[in-house]
Amino acid sequence: MTDLLELMTRAVAEQPPVTITRESSIAAGRRAVRRRRTGLAALSVTGAAALVATAIAVPRALAPVSPPSNVVTYPVPQLPAAGVPGAIDRPDLVGSDPLLIHFGVASSAWPLSEVWYSSANGTESVRAGALQVMLGRSEAEPRRVAEGTGLSRSVTDPSHPNASPSPIAERHTSQPTTVDGRSATLFSTTFADGTYPRYGLLWQPAAGLWLGISAETETGVAELWSDVDALDLSRAYRVVVPFRLKSLPPGARVLDCTAGLPAAGEPLAASFLTVGGPDGRAAISIGQPTVYPAGSTPATHGPQPSLPAQNRTVAGHSVFWTGGYFFSNDWDGVPITVGVEDGYGEAEATRILAGLQVSKNLTDPTTWPTSPTAG
């Protein structure tokens, strides 16, 4: 008879020697401090240009706080969509096209390894590090982001690990403020132990448009205002994924897209695309290894358990098919999955997978297809 803790203990029993040391961590920490001090200077040309554009497009928020002149920011990768109006001019377009968002965030006050773009059902969102921005044609979702929920924190006395945890005193506030001359509400949650305070902001940048922004901050509310300054509602940006689907079931179109763009120096980001129509739906992911050793022998390559023995061949690639999903951790060098439901079956999944063409350059979104289903 085995309990869960015993199983977990066995699962980690083959831990290889840890390379993290006191010295390496201190050295990495010192480098991070230096990067922070020089972070602004390290902005990429693209990021800097975008920041300049932002400064022109959106005047500095009229906030009752000190300007965030000393906040270190990190460029957010984004792809401008030429000729497409921004949300400030066309609120009705927000969340209407899964391959477009009608606002941009040029930088984040929180380090990030990737940024995720998503557009659907009247809302558009950007997540970058601890920053989340939600733009919507109704108030509910942006308000949820701005207010935040479930942030209660507590600690347990280490000398009495079985004692009930003591809640960390926290303080919630909301106060009126303005953003670009418009009425706004500033939400904050601060904690008595000094850990990351969180700030949110909700306002209507235009009639019929709500914007909620949430930022976890290390230094305080100035980081939030820095993020607000980085917003640009006058331009649209492309939501792109590093692959193309050259073969779709009849009538299928893009229904939803969550696109991950890697920050400079980062590897491939995970992206997700849903296509379909009245006959069914299919979800395609890339950049996300699958750990699913059902029926498998132990790992034959790599540090993690391998997939089971492949049981299908699609377009010359060996893949594993089970339960409505194709899995491969090495489709032209990257992990992919294709799942089908609501009427689609293996035939449709095979058709989609056979037409999957992964971009050669996985880190430069400017080289990715404009549309994942075109041509």
């Binding site: 993290i20 992911s285 540090p303 089970t322």
Partner: protein, 175 residues
């Protein structure tokens, strides 16, 4: 950072790094990625150390960063299979129960079948021995959500592993 504080930070790393990597491994099933996540968390910890400095504050902070790195904004959230899947994969086949490798594979496969938040809740509760409230703090959700996520996660684990193992969790799933 002042020398004394840096010394304390170094002591913390030396004492905790290995265990933190094991925690991260249970979340991602990849030793390399686990080390990356822990290293990222420790760099952030270095930056925040002057404001933390108490162990009861540091551990939750580091766990939270690791979870965030691996599951939320993750480098790069590679376990977000739940975005694609509304039903669990088929159960792993019965292991013969005689080998540690089978145990390891079976457990990792079962954990991998859980949605990310359920997996994190289960690992925090039963590996890190965190209370519901502490787990909620780490995951940035309510205590009620932790209870439901944990219960669902355990239910799935039991279903996936029931043929090989009789799971005991040392208490109520809803504690």
């Amino acid at each position: 950072m002042r020398a004394e504080a840096e010394q304390q930070y170094g002591d913390y790393v030396a004492a905790r790094a290995s265990r933190l990597v094991r925690f991260a491994f249970l979340l991602c099933a990849d030793w390399h990625r686990a080390e990356d996540a822990v290293q990222s968390a420790l760099v952030k910890l270095y930056l925040a150390w002057p404001r933390l400095g108490r162990i009861e504050t540091v551990d939750p902070y580091v766990r939270r960063i690791i979870v965030r790195v691996l599951l939320d904004h993750g480098r790069l959230a590679r376990f977000r299979r739940e975005l694609l899947r509304d039903r669990p994969p088929e159960p792993p086949p019965a292991a013969d129960g005689s080998g540690a490798v089978d145990d390891r594979i079976a457990l990792l496969a079962a954990l991998a079948a859980l949605p990310a938040r359920q997996r994190a809740a289960v690992v925090l509760r039963f590996w890190e021995d965190q209370s519901v409230e502490q787990t909620a703090q780490t995951l940035g959700c309510s205590a009620g959500t932790v209870k439901s996520q944990t219960a669902r996660g355990l239910q799935t684990l039991r279903r996936l592993l029931a043929d090989q193992y009789l799971l005991r969790t040392g208490g109520s799933d809803h504690d």
